[in-house]
């Protein structure tokens, strides 16, 4: 079927790449509205405190200040920032403002002024008296408020049949998403009581739901317009600034813009969830996994956020990568007085895989077995069942990933290389991963609706709740529709979502966009094609099944030779049939296969300074079918960059005494930059997935999942260590090599 595909599989650039590159795209920060006010937030300097007194008189006296908002004059309606459908069960513990602040960076007040400078000046003049309360900074010191468990078989029986049991405790840190665009939104009130919010977000219906709840408005009085997104990676998935911004716009009856700086984006929005995972794996003498037990401590930060949901998501991944007859998972979720955790690329998957894949390499060392061989003995096969009763794993390609990647990387030869005995040591490591494709099989509904129409000039217009985060959602939808409709993707317009006009969509989350939205786009295109055939048959005086549609033209199949370009036919249908070529389709997801991947990594470690250099990465993914291989490769290159960061340098840590983040900007929070990026070789396994559009599965999230574990495994291989606290900063590497000298310092 592949040879026939014309647009699916094509390497087309992002639809807005040119506009982005030449600086013509208008991000929310670039937008302005007549009379727009600027808001500046005041954040708590303490990790836990009661606001004893809040005096806004000095702030209000600053010329240009319009209003100051705090817990004293805003609704105390509790909400949860990650709710995206009505009736979703959750813990609601966040408010616009609260009289008790729960972390350094919690919202205390907001000053709204005619200019940003006035707002900034006045924000410093909001006088607050805090009554300090005891704070819990370390997750280990917190009591859990919720638990999630999953179990298959009987782990005790499994362990009793094991020849070897290997236990590890693996820690992953809070991580900043580091999108280039900080958090920002604009709310614009209209005279009829409607509020329009321009938000670079991931789920417009989620923003609508929470804004409407907090403001006490009907859903149709809240309009969320998906703005151009300057990067999200999950950081803009939860609803953070929008309810407050909308409320301030409503009260002041003026457009209001809120824009955070980098420090606030790091400390006052969301982070990757910190996890501490205790894992025990039992194997027989041949390396078959007999039992595994994972006990996870999940630090969701100061508010519940997605702590419970992500804990379930992490647990499910454990049962979909290896054939493990006896396995138990328990997550204890705790709140701490630190920055709130939330969605972050992979939604817990990079963390849970770091826990298990680092442990699995430890098992391999203890067995004196090659890590690839150990994995090949245990990996899942196509159409395996999920032993917990979840959806089928689908057309799994992880074994192909492993074999292809090992060959390309020259794994056996590289592992046999001398590691060196001097200052610099070399090592190689690898890791496997699985991630999902939407919500099918979970408690959450997974459907989407789209309207597709053909205009009088033959062009197509897709109206859908799309969220272009920079991953190529819009280009992907255009390629899918183009393939079905046999037209150039350039003739298809597929704008970002707008709750006032777009049908419902569950949002750009859960790796569902290509798999679910793409399938809906395909269904809508097929439906439009059928409608075109039906209406054309009236014009052509034949039966619908005698109408031929080919290369953007409609032919009569009864030998008259009559044929019309789409444009002409669309006009005729308008004029003669008085009919619009418009369809609306709802697609309900029917499967949730795994997307799989394996990374092979070579590192060089400086044993004097602890510096790690990743020198080569081979990244192989089973994604069914690449709708656009160029965008897929872009996703993978970026994911590897984030994964290496997670392995060796990215972390937000908190001073145990003050609760302050130690990394409040990019001077201290280091990402892997271009000079430190290794060459990344991307290989794709494309063997098609039944329910995916043209066989496609997700890639954007699974891409990051194996990388961190593979890097850590390579470092442990190089040093003959078992380092398990991420990231492996130079300090932690040296502490691992000289534990006595570092006792109690760089944990």
């Amino acid at each position: 079927m592949d040879e026939k595909l014309k647009y699916v599989g094509a390497r087309l650039p992002l639809h807005d790449a040119a506009a982005k590159v030449i600086g013509r795209i208008r991000y929310t920060g670039d937008l302005g509205f007549p009379g727009m006010l600027h808001a500046k937030l005041v954040f708590s300097p303490f990790p836990h405190a009661r606001i004893a007194r809040l005096d806004i008189s000095r702030a209000l006296a600053v010329p240009g200040v319009v209003a100051v908002f705090s817990h004293l004059n805003t609704p105390s309606i509790a909400y949860n920032s990650q709710v995206w459908f009505a009736g979703q069960e959750t813990v609601e513990d966040e408010r616009l403002f609260s009289s008790t602040v729960r972390y350094v960076g919690d919202r205390v007040a907001a000053v709204v002024a005619q200019t940003l400078v006035a707002a900034e000046v006045a924000a410093k003049l909001v006088d607050v008296e805090y009554e300090l309360l005891p704070a819990v900074i370390a997750a280990q010191d917190a009591a859990s408020f919720a638990e999630k468990q999953l179990q298959v078989g009987d782990v005790e029986v499994g362990f009793s049949m094991s020849r070897l049991i290997v236990e590890d405790v693996v820690e992953t840190p809070k991580i900043h998403h580091a999108a280039m665009e900080n958090h920002v939104c604009i709310a614009v009130p209209d005279p009829n009581g409607k509020i329009t919010v321009y938000a670079p977000c991931q789920i417009i219906v989620s923003v609508r739901l929470i804004v409407a709840k907090v403001l006490g408005l009907a859903l149709n009085k809240v309009r969320i317009v998906q703005a151009a997104v300057g990067g999200s990676f999950g950081g803009k998935q939860e609803v953070i600034l929008e309810p407050l911004c909308a409320y301030m716009a409503k009260v002041t009856d003026r457009p209001v813009k809120v824009e955070l700086d980098r420090a606030a984006s790091i400390t006052s929005t969301r982070t990757r969830t910190r996890t501490i995972g205790k894992v025990r794996t039992g194997v027989d003498e041949k390396g078959h996994i007999m039992a595994r037990e994972v006990d996870l401590l999940v630090d969701t930060g100061a508010y519940t956020s997605n702590g419970i949901v992500i804990s379930m998501a992490m647990g499910k991944k454990l049962f979909r990568l290896y054939r493990i007859p006896n396995q138990s998972y328990r997550a204890r979720i705790v709140r701490t007085n630190t920055t709130v955790a939330g969605a972050c690329r992979g939604y817990g998957s990079p963390q849970i895989h770091a826990v298990t894949e680092i442990n699995l390499d430890h098992v391999a060392r203890k067995l004196d077995m090659d890590p690839v061989e150990l994995r090949l003995k245990n990996l899942v096969h196509p159409h395996d069942c999920d032993l917990t009763g979840g959806p089928s794993l689908g057309n799994v390609g992880i074994i192909e990933c492993l074999r292809l990647g090992a060959a390309e990387f020259n794994w056996t030869a590289k592992r046999a290389l001398e590691k060196g005995t001097g200052r610099f040591r070399r090592g190689s490591g690898m890791a496997c991963a699985v991630h999902g494709n939407g919500y099918f099989g979970s408690p959450y509904p997974d459907f989407t609706s789209m309207t597709l129409r053909m205009l009088e000039d033959g062009g197509l217009l897709l109206t859908a709740g799309l969220h272009e985060l920079g991953c190529g959602t819009i280009t992907t939808m255009r390629q899918i529709i183009a393939e079905v409709m046999e037209v150039d993707p350039e003739t298809i317009e597929a704008p970002d979502g707008d709750t006032q006009t777009s049908p419902f969509d569950s949002g750009c989350q859960a790796s569902r966009t290509t798999f679910v939205c793409g399938a809906c786009a395909m269904k809508a295109a097929e439906s439009l094609k059928a409608l075109l055939r039906q209406e054309a048959s009236i014009i052509l005086n034949c039966n619908p099944d005698q109408v031929l549609i080919k290369d953007g033209e409609v032919w009569s199949g009864i030998g008259t030779g009559q044929h019309y370009p789409y444009a002409a036919m669309a006009c005729l249908i308008q004029q003669k049939n008085e009919r619009e070529l418009i369809v609306t389709e709802t697609y309900k997801s029917q499967a949730n296969p795994g997307s799989y991947g394996a990374n092979f990594v070579e590192v060089e470690v400086d044993t004097f300074t602890g510096m790690v250099r990743v020198t080569e990465v081979v990244a192989v993914y089973d994604l069914g079918k690449a709708i656009n291989p160029m965008l897929v490769e872009g996703q993978i290159h970026g994911a590897v960059q984030m994964g290496i960061g997670m392995a060796i340098c990215e972390e937000i840590t908190f001073d145990p005494a003050t609760g302050r983040a130690k990394q409040e900007g990019f001077a201290k929070y280091h990402l892997i930059n271009a000079p430190d990026m290794p060459p990344v070789k991307v290989l794709l396994i494309e063997k098609g997935e039944e329910h995916g559009p043209f066989g496609a599965k997700s890639i954007g999230e699974v891409a990051i999942v194996p990388t961190a574990a593979a890097v850590v495994n390579a470092i442990n291989h190089a040093l003959d260590t078992n380092l398990t606290v991420l990231p492996l900063t130079p300090e932690r590497v040296l502490a691992g090599l000289h534990p006595a000298q570092f006792s109690g310092v760089a944990k």
Binding site: T609, L734, A735, F742
Partner: protein, 294 residues
Amino acid sequence: MNCFKIAGPRTIAEALAFAAEAGDNAIYISGGTDWLVNGAKKVAGGLLIDLTQVEELTYIEERADHLVMGAGVTFSRIATNPLVWEKARCLAQAAAQIGSTQIRNRATIGGNVANAAPAADGVPPLMALDAEVLAIKGEIRRWVPMGEAVSDLCGGLMPGTLFAAFRVPLLLNSVSAFVKLGSRSTVSVAKLNLAARIQTTEDGRSRNVRLAMGAAAANAFRVTAVEKLWEGRSCEEALAEELAGGLVTQVDRLLAGRASLPYKREAIRGLAYDLVLDIGRAVEDGGRGNGRKA
């Protein structure tokens, strides 16, 4: 609100006149890469004297026995200037590793020394090279040794002193090197940095050794105890190990009780090895890299 005036002199004389008028409320800036990030508040009510238009501060020249450069020379220029690579190699190496390309395009050697951050990469090379800075305040103009210039920042030199130029004495058969440890290979504030200059004798031994270390104390400083270990030695691995030992002692003393001590006392060994290796490379290069050939 933070209101202040900005002066844009075209000559050193104009700059000094502005400074004299504003008295203690004057602050000189050049590229502004430190001041804009950290210091913008310090000038409230005062006068900011922007030196970026003063052409007299932007030369790099060889004059008699010195390499002389204006304080307004950017690190990008230093890092790409053949004369600096030839005569003051360690300074060129440091310049090439400061911040990002964008920072190097703005930041100047004068600003780096005047700001005198503990980790300032420009300072150890200048110290190792026995450089002097031309400090001007009012009628007083004098060439100040680097050690004094940096330490005096806390004392009398600032505020109101203009650093106008740096001069590096050119020595026969001398080489120099700079090495740095950050938390990644580029765009990183130094956790430790080292610069050294030696003269080599005919039989390949080191003499007249200068070794300066940054990021381990409030200011970079010359590590004279370790310089002594180096005197008379050739640049080989055994020397690296001894220097490492000497530097560890220094780090232990300077950072006693600090959380960063266990890491830095190990990591300084890596820098000692890098430094000896790189100096050795420069020696093999035929003495190119600092001063004049015999």
